[in-house]
């Protein structure tokens, strides 16, 4: 077992898990999105996040409703369909100390919001961007989304004739430095990946297959529970060791042997420890990650885990050479140049 943050009933802040809850969900019972909300709650509780430092963003969709269902102590913004990335960009520029959690859907990200998704990544906006991917538009009652696989069947809309967009692949190609895929039915993996994602500096994309029990849960569908349960291929056994804890390396290497463990060291001192399972995948290689996803697409395999990790690029605010303190907290003196400066400038226009 990796060292856990001494989690008992209360966390480092003396808070209970229940303190991280939100309002009661109004999603369909059994919806994959609710399991993800639960893992977000567990992650925040176990990591001891200060809720007032966390901001929740979403677009529009069943998935995008969920920020109301976790972390009641955090500010949240349920924005526009596909355009949460721009809102999160503005908010994190305004206050660089905020920990941003974005929740989107496959329709929200893969269609109407595709451009914003790509540009958020390109700018390296600091956010954990979760895609609750069910292959359909849940909220508008079951149309195909752009992540639905070719040939997939839906009750009212027949067979999907178009190839799927792989959002994880798009993220990697777009320059995202943390890209993971998971399955809402794999609670432990979701939680671990979220912990790692929130420790990442920059955009972290976590594409979670999250079955829509109402419109796309036929066992034939590769976004269904049955399919996921049967076919998920985790790339690694994954542990997250939060910064500040000493990783118990020896114990693990004894178990696994040299070369079978990859320690991904993160900027904040945390470590993602990956233990080899069936296949070889070093997430630190971009080419390998792209090849892996293309192969998965070709062979219709459902690989999950940390797909790609790279030393983070500068954040947007750093690229813009901004002051350290949040722009939202600047004093009036910092916001308004002096009377003398104005007088001087006016002379230049005379």
């Amino acid at each position: 077992m990796p060292p856990k943050a001494n989690i008992g009933k209360t966390n480092v802040l003396g808070l209970e898990r229940a303190d991280y809850k939100g309002l009661t969900s109004t999603l369909c019972p059994g919806c994959g999105h609710d399991s993800i909300s639960n893992q977000i709650i567990s992650m925040a509780f176990e990591m001891g996040l200060q809720q007032h430092n966390v901001v929740k963003f979403s677009g529009i969709g069943c998935s995008s409703k969920t920020p109301a269902y976790f972390l009641n102590g955090s500010h949240g913004f349920n924005s526009l369909h596909g355009r949460m990335p721009s809102v999160a960009t503005g908010a994190t520029l305004a206050n660089n100390r905020l920990i941003a959690l974005g929740v989107s859907g496959d329709g929200d990200t893969g269609s109407i919001g595709f451009g914003q998704f790509k540009h958020m990544i390109r700018r390296n906006v600091p956010i954990v961007y979760i895609i609750e991917n069910n292959g359909v538009y849940g909220l508008t009652k079951g149309q195909f989304s752009a992540t639905a696989d070719e040939g997939q069947k839906l009750k009212y809309y027949g067979e999907n004739p178009l190839p799927a967009i792989d959002l994880a692949l798009e993220a990697i190609i777009g320059g995202c430095t943390f890209v993971a895929r998971s399955f809402s039915g794999d609670a432990k993996q979701v939680q671990t990946l979220l912990k790692a994602a929130i420790s990442h500096r920059g955009t972290a994309v976590v594409d979670i297959i999250s079955p829509c029990v109402t419109f796309n849960n036929d066992p034939q569908s590769n976004k269904s529970y049955d399919y996921g349960k049967k076919n998920e291929i985790p790339l690694h056994h994954i542990d997250f060791i939060q910064g500040g804890f000493v990783p118990a390396r020896e114990e693990i290497t004894v178990e696994y042997g040299e070369g079978e463990v990859i320690d991904v060291n993160m900027h904040d001192g945390s470590t993602i420890r990956l233990k080899k399972l069936g296949r070889d995948h070093d997430p630190r290689s971009r080419a390998r990650a792209i090849a892996l996803l293309e192969e998965a697409q070709r062979e219709q395999t459902f690989v999950t885990g940390l797909l790609y990790y790279e030393e983070p690029r500068p954040l947007l605010g750093e690229t813009l050479h901004l002051v350290e303190e949040p722009l939202a907290n600047l004093s009036d003196d910092q916001l308004r140049p002096s009377r003398e400066a104005l007088d001087k400038l006016m002379h230049a226009f005379m």
Binding site: V87, G90, N95
Partner: protein, 611 residues
């Protein structure tokens, strides 16, 4: 009368009639991208420095290089700055439009053109001055790749000599134009000086037009509305600008870039202003809404097509009550319409921008001073009312250089409105025992907001476009929806008299009232003088904000006849007035919307005809 005298003797030799001093228009017709901008800027700046009231207007095509462009410079000893219909002097440097440009000159007009065209001087009633542009340029040692661009300095030198601008004034203007760089200044100056000397030795003055120094611009500034708006924003504490390039708004953001160093942190040399070129206007407005929500002062600048894209977000920000500032430098028509021509056509759309049942606050600057003032005030107003604020300027105001008074330092401290930080939130709880985001504690429709990051366990709330209660909780109850809408209505009703008030020139007894907004100002001011000279007395109200102040309602009621003068096709301000005032049978919309800045001639004609 004067023009006829001139016409009779123009070809005869030296002009001996009455000179016409500081009261005419000179126009330069060139090709877009030919470098004439420097020449025109230098002429305007020089005249301004000579103390002569001046206004320059660029009529340019939607094109980077090659299409015709006209720059007209009006000098007016009486201080009028509106566009004039007549141009007395034409610098005809574009062969493609030469015939038309010459044809448009009035009798007694003057034409300066390149000698190498060997133009047939078919008009007997105007003066032609032929300038040996090619020959003069051949005498210079200017590298060939600069030669074409600098050839326009020939007309600067000739104009200076013929009409009277001292060459040292030209030199200083050039130096300022090139930010103090001597090399380009000298290169340009030498050509102008060559042309000046040539004109002195070879041309006989056969026209009556003269520039003469005055003292009417002393202490004034010359600046474009977009620069003024950018400076106002910087003094208003903008810290996030997200935008997508579009004429004629681009130069506003360019000016923020040029002057953001004024806000640089001296200790670390780091920026307090973030400028993000977004992927489109959807994203630009999303960014400023996110930033405004998180407590920063954020703005974007765009024009009609961008405003169209922003409409869903504008509705959300209105309903979720998020401060942000949106500059709309209006141009004509849809994308692309006439993208380099002016218009006042967005006012109705902007005021109601959103999903319906929205009434957006709009500020309507008419001068460069107001561009600066509304630039900083917009942020205070946005925070005061927790709402988007649109600033509707236009291409004419935004991209042309205008005279103005030096900008007054903001008269009030930065106002963040009802924003609760940790301490204030604690005080609030102590006082009320509760805090609900959308509850109307003060009866003015404006609730108290917190921003993310506030270190207080009860500071958080959930922002949504969905129906909500005063506790910011999701609700589909009709009663909750209606209660919220009523509060928003109260807020906007209340805003009417707290926004920049209209400018009113009212004298009891006058029966005609003129209502307008924005850059029609100079044309109306001049038209009113002309009308008064004909015995038609008018009162005047210039609206400066929407929703309209009650004073506008009053003004409408105070007159027997009201003309609403606007530079759009449908009379959009007039429509707003009609929506708000019961009896408007005496209100007439005088609408133009012809892509050009309004002229006093047109206004006078309309009012005289209607009388």
């Amino acid at each position: 009368m004067c023009a006829l005298n001139v016409a009779n003797q123009v070809q005869a030799g030296a002009y001996s009639g009455q000179p016409i001093v500081n009261n005419f228009t000179i126009m330069a017709a060139t090709k877009n991208g030919s470098g004439s901008q420097t020449s025109n800027n230098v002429l305007v700046l020089s005249l301004f420095r000579m103390g002569i009231p001046v206004n320059g207007k660029n009529l340019f095509p939607s094109n980077i290089k090659g299409l015709p462009t006209w720059y007209s410079i009006r000098v007016s000893k009486d201080g009028y700055t509106a566009r004039r219909v007549t141009t007395e002097i034409a610098v005809v440097f574009n062969l493609d439009t030469a015939a038309e440009d010459i044809n448009n000159l009035p009798p007694g007009g003057v034409c300066l053109l390149p000698a190498e065209w060997k133009w047939t001087q078919s008009r007997q009633d105007i003066v032609y001055y032929e300038l040996p542009v090619k020959e003069l340029m051949a005498k210079t040692d200017i590298p060939s790749d600069f030669r074409d661009r600098i050839a326009n300095m020939v007309y600067v030198g000739a104009v200076a000599q013929l009409f009277g601008i001292p060459m040292d004034v030209i030199y200083k203007a050039l130096l300022d134009n090139f930010n103090g760089k001597e090399k380009p200044t000298k290169m340009n100056y030498n050509v102008a000086a060559l042309a000046y000397d040539w004109a002195k030795d070879n041309l006989q003055k056969r026209d009556p037009y003269r520039f003469e120094p005055m003292n009417k611009t002393q202490g004034k500034i010359l600046i474009s509305g977009n620069e003024a708006g950018a400076l106002g924003s910087l003094w208003g504490g903008v810290s996030i600008v997200a935008w997508y390039p579009i004429t004629p708004s681009t130069s506003l953001v360019d000016a923020v870039l040029d002057y953001k160093h004024l806000r640089r942190d001296p200790a670390t040399n780091k920026e307090t202003v973030a400028i993000v070129q977004a992927e489109d206007e959807l994203s630009a407005v999303g960014m400023i809404i996110g930033a405004g929500w998180a407590g920063a002062r954020a703005m974007t600048s765009t024009s009609g097509p961008g405003i169209s894209l922003m409409s869903e977000f504008a509705g959300l920000a209105y309903f979720a009550e998020i401060p942000c500032v949106i500059w709309d430098i209006t141009r004509l028509g849809p994308s692309t319409g006439l993208p380099t021509r002016t218009s006042q056509g967005d006012i109705l759309f902007a005021h109601f921008l959103g999903h319906g049942d929205t009434r957006q606050i709009c500020l309507l600057p008419g001068t460069v001073e107001e561009c600066f003032e509304f630039g900083w005030r917009a942020f205070d107003i946005a925070e005061q009312f927790q709402s988007p604020v649109f600033v509707l300027s236009d291409l004419d105001l935004g991209m042309n250089n205008w005279m103005g008074e030096p900008f007054a330092y903001p008269s009030q401290k930065i106002n963040h409105g009802k924003r609760l930080d940790k301490e204030k939130l604690e005080e609030f709880f102590a006082k009320y025992g509760e805090w609900y985001r959308y509850k109307d504690y003060d009866g003015d429709g404006v609730g108290y907001r917190t921003v993310p990051g506030t270190d207080h366990p009860r500071a958080a709330f959930f922002t949504r476009g969905t129906g909500h209660t005063e506790k910011a909780l999701y609700s589909e109850k009709s009663a909750d929806w209606v209660a919220n809408m009523e509060r928003l209505h109260r807020k906007m009703e209340n805003a009417r008299d707290l926004l920049p008030p209209p400018m009113i020139d009212y004298h009891a007894g006058k029966k005609i009232g003129i209502i307008s907004f924005g850059t029609n100002e100079p044309a109306i001011a001049e038209a009113r003088d002309w009308l008064a000279a004909q015995g038609i007395q008018t009162n005047y109200l210039r609206a400066r904000a929407l929703p309209l102040a009650h004073a506008v309602h009053e003004f409408v009621k105070q007159h027997e006849q009201v003309y609403v003068i606007e530079n759009n096709f449908d009379g959009q301000l007039c429509q707003i007035i009609r929506m708000e005032i019961h009896d408007t049978r005496h209100v007439t919309a005088l609408t133009l919307g012809d892509s050009l800045p309004m002229t006093p001639d047109w206004i006078v004609k309309q009012i005289v005809e209607k009388k």
